[in-house]
């Protein structure tokens, strides 16, 4: 079973990376990029077959390790 976890900064939290990318795109001549935010994508290969269990596990993994819930949100997708 494959899972995809995306971790993004909460609203209002400064994103220096996004800011730098936005600046670089601008100086490369791309107009009309109003905002850029950078997040993480974590792809997992799970050996179980129980989707409900997997979702619960993934949530637990996010809370415990994958996301820093003080400043980040996460989203889980099973694929």
């Amino acid at each position: 079973m494959k899972a995809r976890v995306t971790v993004t900064l909460k609203n209002g939290v400064l994103d220096p990376q996004g800011k730098a990318i936005q600046g670089a795109l601008k100086s490369l001549g791309f107009a009309g990029v109003d905002d850029v935010r950078q997040g993480k994508l974590i792809e997992l290969e799970l050996s179980g077959h129980d989707r409900v269990q997997a979702e619960a596990d993934l949530k637990d993994m996010c809370e415990k390790l994958l996301a820093n819930t003080v400043i980040e949100n996460y989203r889980i997708e099973l694929i």
Binding site: P16, Q17, A20, I21, G23, A24, S27, L28, Q38
Partner: protein, 228 residues
């Protein structure tokens, strides 16, 4: 030796590098701002360490798209020397002047310490002051120095003697314990095909005076001074 040191926003070892050139050649390098489109008339263009653009997105990625880069490429095409150290190495690979890429250290931690390097090719413009196989001390300071290249590239690098420096132990052995960042084949520095572009993660510029604890890094600058 006439040299230029490039400066990008966020670069922070430009003074260290300029000092090394100055110490060894007696001439202060030109400091060149990234928005320039021409280089001064120099033999060596050096790209220093640091965190250009904060190392955001990928190390060296944003700096590699700066206006000055085209001039660097032309300089290299003409056979001029290009030296990329640390962030400079990352930038030079992002430009494509050297193959492969630098990934996060296997430990995922920034590491600053003194390591040993083995000079695997001492017949280059950058290393001729060293003896072949010589083991030198050299500081490192990076979080993403884990060199990676695909099998084919690696075979070419090895086959053509383009690995200039490798991490090793005191006896010159390339062991896992002596590899500070997980680099493939313990690679610390590589050359381009023509031998006029060197990229390396370690900082020879921080070990050129007895006060710094040793002078093993001088050889690199002295080698360049011989040919330029």
């Amino acid at each position: 030796m006439k040299s230029a040191v490039l400066v990008f926003p966020g670069i922070n070892r430009e003074r260290d590098l300029a000092r090394a050139f100055h110490e060894v050649s007696g001439v202060a390098p030109h400091m060149v701002w990234h928005t320039e489109t021409e280089l001064p008339d120099v033999d060596v263009v050096a790209i220093p360490g640091g965190f250009s653009y904060g190392d955001y997105l990928r190390c060296g990625a944003i700096a590699a798209r700066s206006p000055i880069i085209e001039a660097v490429r032309r300089h290299a095409d003409r056979g001029g020397y290009v030296l990329g150290i640390c962030n400079g190495f990352q930038i030079v690979t992002e430009i494509g002047l050297l193959p492969g890429a630098l990934m996060r250290n296997a430990s995922l931690k920034f590491v600053c310490k003194e390591v040993r390097l083995r000079v695997d090719n001492a017949s280059t413009a950058f290393t001729s002051a060293y003896a072949p196989g010589q083991v030198i001390r050299c500081p490192i300071a990076h979080g993403e120095g884990n060199y990676f290249a695909d099998a084919e590239t690696l075979a070419r690098l090895e086959g053509e003697g383009r690995v200039a420096f490798r991490y090793c132990d005191e006896a010159g052995e390339t062991t896992d314990a002596a590899n500070p960042n997980g680099s493939i084949h313990s690679i610390a520095g590589i050359l381009n095909e023509r031998g006029n572009v060197l990229g390396m993660m370690p900082h020879p510029e921080n070990l050129i005076e007895a006060l710094q604890g040793g002078i093993d890094g001088r050889g690199l600058f002295e080698s360049l001074a011989r040919v330029a």
